[in-house]
């Protein structure tokens, strides 16, 4: 079992004073990029993600076009000042993988077959990284998609769960992420009860997986309500 160098749990409370099943403070805002068709900013504690959606728009070069459905393109990027030590700008192996993961998490929710030969582009920028950046990115991207008026089955809601010092926790922060025994990224369409992303790093027992998934589902239901309120706020 991986032992962390720092003590992550003190008297049953985490380093930032949260209980194991507690989320960080969540903030959501729609329409932050005025030139985009839809955009959103989501904050989970110190993690800040901005997503911008462009499209559906014409797709070139032509060989990328699909005759029967549109395509979804996604770019996940961390800005150089998002982490403590400067991140080399530009795509690296990690952000290319996360771009794909985010795309796969959102794709089942979108009616892409309505836009043959076209593309929908999503840009996710991480302004500040403190753990759980991919799920924050997914939450922002799905808000941006909805506000761009793109037909979807449901909003996609995501959260992260994990295990530190034999305790199951919700919404990992950066330091917990780095020292965890296990962490799991989770995304779902809450009103359809369909899971669109499930990634795990580390080791877990079967019962723990089940328990973590229940925790994640409950958290997603809460985040879903926040997403709905954030977007309805725009039209108030």
């Amino acid at each position: 079992m991986a032992k962390s160098e720092v003590k992550l749990l003190i008297d049953g409370k985490r380093l930032d004073g949260r209980l194991p099943g507690e989320m960080r403070k969540v903030e959501m805002k729609v329409d932050v990029v005025s030139r985009a068709d839809g955009s959103a900013m989501v904050k989970f504690g110190n993690t800040v993600a901005i997503a911008a959606v462009y499209g559906p728009r014409p797709l070139y070069p032509k060989y990328l076009q699909e005759a029967k459905s549109g395509i979804l393109r996604c770019r996940y990027n961390m800005v150089p000042f998002s982490v403590v030590e400067r991140k080399n700008p530009g795509p690296d192996r990690r952000s290319i993988e996360l771009s794909k993961v985010i795309r796969l998490a959102l794709e089942p929710a979108i009616f892409l077959e309505e836009f043959p030969k076209a593309t929908i582009d999503i840009f996710v920028e991480i302004l500040q990284a403190d753990g759980s950046t991919r799920v924050t990115g997914i939450n922002a991207a799905s808000l941006a998609l909805a506000s761009a008026g793109i037909p979807m089955k449901d909003l996609v809601t995501a959260c992260s769960v994990g295990k530190i010092e034999d305790t199951l926790i919700l919404d990992l922060s950066g330091i917990e992420d780095n020292n965890s025994e296990c962490d799991m990224a989770f995304a779902m369409m809450p009103s359809k009860e369909k899971i669109t992303l499930l990634q795990m790093d580390g080791t877990l027992k079967k019962e723990e997986v089940k328990k973590l998934m229940e925790m994640a589902k409950d958290a997603c239901a809460k985040i879903y309500e926040m997403q709905k309120n954030a977007i309805k706020e725009k039209y108030r």
Binding site: P56, R57, E114
Partner: protein, 219 residues
């Protein structure tokens, strides 16, 4: 009329299907109908749909639209219609006289960047779009300015039976053409006033008593 209109988001439950026709902006799974775009729900006895608040223009046959010529081809023109799809205007649909393409340069009829008021005449399943100038009222628009608005707000800008757009036209004395695709062409002395009014309608489309406000604004 209620002051606050309810807004639904994708995935929100609307009603039981109960034999209703599921229109645009909604989809059904089993016996349940859900919204699929952000918009205002419209649940009637035999039909359920959602009027969208955002989204790109998807061409439909019969729509009166404004297009901008992108390029001149051998026997027609490619037209930008503010949509994910580019439309094609065939020579025969654009010009009523006979043209011998081996002898004529067709850019004398329409050249790149010309603005036309036309109708969507054909849309195939994979969204190949054709437009036509044969319908009544279609013409080339000379001079003026072209502005872009949210295509979903165009019906509000036109108003019931053209009420809103007629106010703007009469008060400013401008010549205005509204395309269903969100392009609006304006020509006249007071065009800046007209543009301001149109953008106000677009921004405050949900406000009740907007017609009076615009009337006041234009004096």
């Amino acid at each position: 009329m209620s002051e606050k209109r309810e807004i639904v988001l994708p995935g929100e439950f609307l009603c039981e299907k109960a034999g209703r026709k599921v229109g645009s902006g909604a989809y059904f799974e089993g016996e349940k109908v859900f919204a699929r775009v952000i918009g205002i729900p419209n649940i009637k006895e035999n039909e359920v749909s959602v009027i969208p608040l955002a989204g790109a223009y998807i061409p439909k046959v019969g729509d009166r639209i404004i297009g901008k010529i992108l390029s001149v081809e051998i026997s027609g023109w490619m037209v930008d219609i503010n949509s994910p799809y580019v439309a094609f205007l065939p020579l025969a649909e654009g010009v009523s006289e006979f043209v011998d393409i081996s002898k004529t340069d067709i850019s004398r009829y329409f050249d790149v960047d010309d603005i036309i008021f036309c109708t969507v005449s054909k849309v195939t399943k994979d969204k190949t779009v054709q437009v036509s100038m044969k319908s009544i009222g279609s013409r080339k628009l000379h001079g003026g300015v072209l502005i872009k608005v949210n295509p979903n707000k165009v019906p509000r800008i036109i108003g019931k039976g053209g009420s809103m757009i007629n106010i703007i036209k009469n008060k400013t004395g401008c010549e205005i053409y509204t395309g269903r695709n969100g392009y609006i062409w304006i020509k006249g002395e007071n065009k800046s006033k007209a543009i301001e009014a149109i953008l106000t309608v677009e921004k405050e489309s949900h406000v009740i008593g907007l017609t009076e406000k615009i009337e006041k604004m234009l004096g």
